[in-house]
Symmetry: C2
C-alpha cells in the first residue's frame, strides 16, 4: 500500500502517557491508541499484526482438530451462579439490563461452553469434542497496567476439550501442548519461553503455563536448565525439585505468562451435569481441559522482548509488511525504479509498503524502523547508478546491494 | 471435512424455544445456539456463514479505500457525556468497574472514532480518512426478538468517513452507496432490497437505509417501482412523493433494515472539535459520514427470505460448503468412489463436506438440505453401475447425472 494512505502519525518522541515500553513503542508507531486505562484501539498497523498472530494460533488450533465457534460476551448471571463464580471471580465485570437481566462480561467461557457442548453429547460416540474461539475478553482489573500486557479489554483464544475420561484428556492435553510450542516457535519466542509448572487448583496436581522471560514480567519462575522447564514461584514451596529430573538447581527469572493450559477434569461438567453413556450404557461425567492464549498480550510481549533503540523488531510471520520501499529524494528515475519494484512485489502477492510521502529521508528511515517491515528497500540516485537497490533486514545490521 | 467431526445434532423438529423462522432454522441446522434472550453462540456452521458474509463486506470496504481497525467495546462515560448520548441513548448498556470507572458498551462508535481520528488530522493534506471495523456490538433492547434480527449482542460493520467539506463527503457517500449495492448483489439480496429514504435527523435532509422485503420486517416502506427506491414510513408525511421522479404512486411493503448510511456532517466533529487547517491556513470542522451494516442481521435476513420446506438456501458465496458428498449405504465400491470425489475436491481447494456418519439415507438427505452446501452429490450403487454420480444444486429441483 501507499504510505500516504496509512493511518500513521510521525511521533518523534515516546508517548508520555504510557509507563510501559510496549505501549510507548506501539503508540509511537501508530499501532494502537489508548482510549482509557487498560483499553486500546488497534489501528490498521496494530490490527494487521494482531490478526497475523491470531491466524497463526487459528492454524495451529485447526491442526489439532479444534472447531472454531464464537460465544457471546454477555454471560447470563445464572450460569455464573451455578459454578459459584458470580460471587468469587474477582475481575468479573457485571451489568444489568433495563429489563433487569444480569450478565457477567466474558472473562473466560467455561460457563457458556460447558452447557453448550452438553447439548451435543449423549453417547461415547459423540466424544471427543474440541472447540475454540478468538475473541475480545473483559477483566475488571483493579489496576490495568503494562500497556497491552494486562488490559481491561483484550484479545484471547480459548480452547476447550471434552473427553470420555482422564486418559483421553491427557492425550489431547499433550496435543495442545505441542500446538502451543509450535505457536511460540512461529512467533520467534521459543528460546526464551518455558513450559512452567503452576498450581493445578483443588482438582489437578499442576496446570501448565508458558512463561516468556522479561524483566517486566509479573511472575517469578524457577528454571531447570537441564530439562528446559520451570516452576512458578506460587508452588515452589510444595514443589521443591524439578518435576522431570528431580534436581533442585534452579535459575530464578522474571517472566510474562503468555499461555496457560489446565486440566479441568470434572470441575465444570459436574455443576452442569455433562454426562455421556459409555459402551456399557453406564453414565459418566465428561472430562474437560481448557487452553488459553492472550493474543494481544503475546503481541505486547513480543514488543518487550524484541526491539532495539529504533523500535520494534517483528518476527517475520507477523510483521505488518514484508517489504518497505523508500525512494530517496524526488529524482524521477529513482521514483520510477522504486515504483517498478513496488509493482513487482505487489504482483507477487507480497505485503509491501511504498513510502510516497513528502518527508525527509531521515524521517522515512526512522518511520521504517518503527513500522518494522521484514525488509527495508532503499532506492537512491547513488544505488541506481550502479543498477542496484539497498536491501536491509530489520533484524540485521548489514545492508546488501542487489541488482534492480 | 468429515461430517462425523462437525459439531452438529440431528434435530427432526423446529426448536420450540424460538418464535422466529430464522432462529428456528438456524438452531435446527446447528448454526447457532440460544444462550439467553437476544444472545446467541455461533457454532462452527454458523460462524462459517457469518465469516463468509463479513469477508464479502471486508472486501468491498477495502475496495473503497477504507482501513480496518478495531475499537474497544468499553466506551468511557466521559466520551458519551460529551455528545449527550450517555443519558439519551435508550439502548446503551452501562457498567461500572470496581475502581468506579463507568463505561457504555459499544452500540456504535462515533464517540471513540471521532477523537481517535482527530489525532491524525491537522492539515487538509491528512484528509480524507476512512476507517471501519467488524465487531461485536451491544444493545440493551427492551425486547430482543426475531432471532438474530434484533439481538442484545450482535455483529456489525461500521465505517466512518472524515472529509474536508460537504462536497467531499457527498462523493464518498456515493462510493459507499455503490459498495453497499455490490454487497447485497453478492449476497443475492439485490432483487428485493431497496435504497430507502429515511429521516436525516436534525442535520441532514435524509439518511439512507437498505431495506429487504420480508413479512417479518419491522419497517413499512413505500416503493416507487419506476425508480426502484423507497421511502420509510417515518418520513412519508413530509416526503409525499418519490425524491427522484416526483410520482406518488407507491407500493407499501414490510421490510427488514439491512444497512444504513448517514451524513453526520459536523454533528460529532463539533463536540470533539475535530478541525483541520485548509490551504489558506483557516480552521474548518471535518465532515463525517457513518455507514453501518449488521452482518448477523444480514445472515438472519437471508434465512427469512431464502429457504424452502427443507431448510435454508444459502447464496453461493456464503454457503458453509461448496460440495456435500453423500454415499448411499455401506457398499465398499460406493464408499470408494465417494471418497475419490471427496479427495478430488479437497485437492482443488474446495470446501467439501463428506457424510461419513452411520445414519439412514433419509436422515443424510434431510441434513444435507439443512446444511445447504451449494451442491449435493449422491453416490449410490445404482449411479456407479452407470459410472455416474448425482449432482443437485440446493436451489434447484432437478438432479443431474454426471460421469465419475
Amino acid at each position: 500500500m501507499l504510505q500516504s494512505k496509512l493511518i500513521y502519525k510521525i511521533k518523534k518522541e515516546f508517548s508520555k502517557d504510557e509507563d510501559s515500553l510496549n505501549a510507548r513503542l506501539l503508540v509511537q508507531g501508530s499501532y494502537i491508541k489508548k482510549e482509557a486505562s487498560g483499553i486500546y484501539t488497534f489501528l490498521p498497523l496494530g490490527l494487521k499484526v494482531l490478526s497475523n498472530i491470531e491466524n497463526i494460533i487459528r492454524e495451529e488450533m485447526n491442526k489439532i482438530d479444534a472447531s472454531e465457534i464464537l460465544m457471546p460476551a454477555l454471560i447470563p448471571k445464572e450460569n455464573l451462579v451455578k459454578t459459584g463464580r458470580w460471587d468469587t471471580f474477582d475481575v468479573l465485570f457485571k451489568l444489568k439490563s433495563q429489563t433487569n437481566n444480569e450478565y457477567g462480561l466474558g472473562a473466560t467461557h467455561e460457563e457458556i461452553v460447558t452447557p453448550l457442548i452438553s447439548d451435543f453429547i449423549s453417547s461415547y460416540k459423540n466424544l471427543p469434542i474440541f472447540v475454540y474461539q478468538i475473541q475480545t475478553k473483559f477483566r475488571d482489573e483493579k489496576r490495568a497496567k503494562s500497556g497491552i500486557l494486562r488490559g481491561r479489554e483484550f484479545r484471547m483464544k480459548d480452547l476447550y476439550s471434552f473427553s470420555k475420561n482422564e486418559d483421553d484428556l491427557n492425550v489431547y492435553y499433550e496435543n495442545a501442548l505441542s500446538a502451543y510450542k509450535k505457536i511460540y516457535e512461529r512467533l520467534n519466542l521459543s528460546d526464551i519461553t518455558y513450559l512452567t509448572y503452576a498450581s493445578g487448583g483443588t482438582f489437578s496436581k499442576y496446570s501448565h503455563e508458558f512463561q516468556t522471560l522479561s524483566e517486566v514480567g509479573e511472575d517469578d519462575i524457577y528454571i531447570c536448565d537441564k530439562c528446559n522447564v520451570a516452576i512458578n514461584e506460587e508452588i515452589i514451596e510444595e514443589q521443591k525439585v524439578c518435576p522431570i529430573c528431580g534436581a533442585s538447581d534452579f535459575r530464578k527469572e522474571k517472566a510474562i505468562e503468555v499461555g496457560n493450559i489446565f486440566k479441568l477434569k470434572t470441575k465444570f461438567s459436574e455443576p452442569f451435569s455433562v454426562k455421556y453413556l459409555d459402551e456399557k450404557n453406564k453414565e459418566n461425567l465428561v472430562y474437560m481441559g481448557c487452553y488459553g492464549i492472550g493474543s494481544s498480550r503475546v503481541m505486547g510481549t513480543i514488543v518487550e522482548v524484541s526491539h532495539d533503540d529504533s523500535g520494534i523488531i517483528w518476527p517475520e510471520e507477523i510483521a505488518p509488511f514484508k517489504y518497505h520501499i523508500i525512494p530517496v529524494g524526488n529524482d524521477e528515475e529513482v521514483l520510477e525504479e522504486a515504483n517498478k519494484l513496488y509493482k513487482t512485489y505487489l504482483e507477487k502477492g507480497d505485503e509491501v509498503l511504498f513510502d510516497d510521502r513528502d518527508e525527509s529521508t531521515g524521517t522515512k528511515l526512522k518511520d521504517a524502523d518503527l513500522i518494522s517491515a521484514t525488509y527495508r528497500i532503499v532506492v537512491s540516485k547513488k544505488t541506481i547508478e550502479q543498477g542496484k537497490f539497498e536491501l536491509k533486514k530489520r533484524s540485521d545490521k548489514e545492508i546488501q546491494l542487489l541488482s534492480l
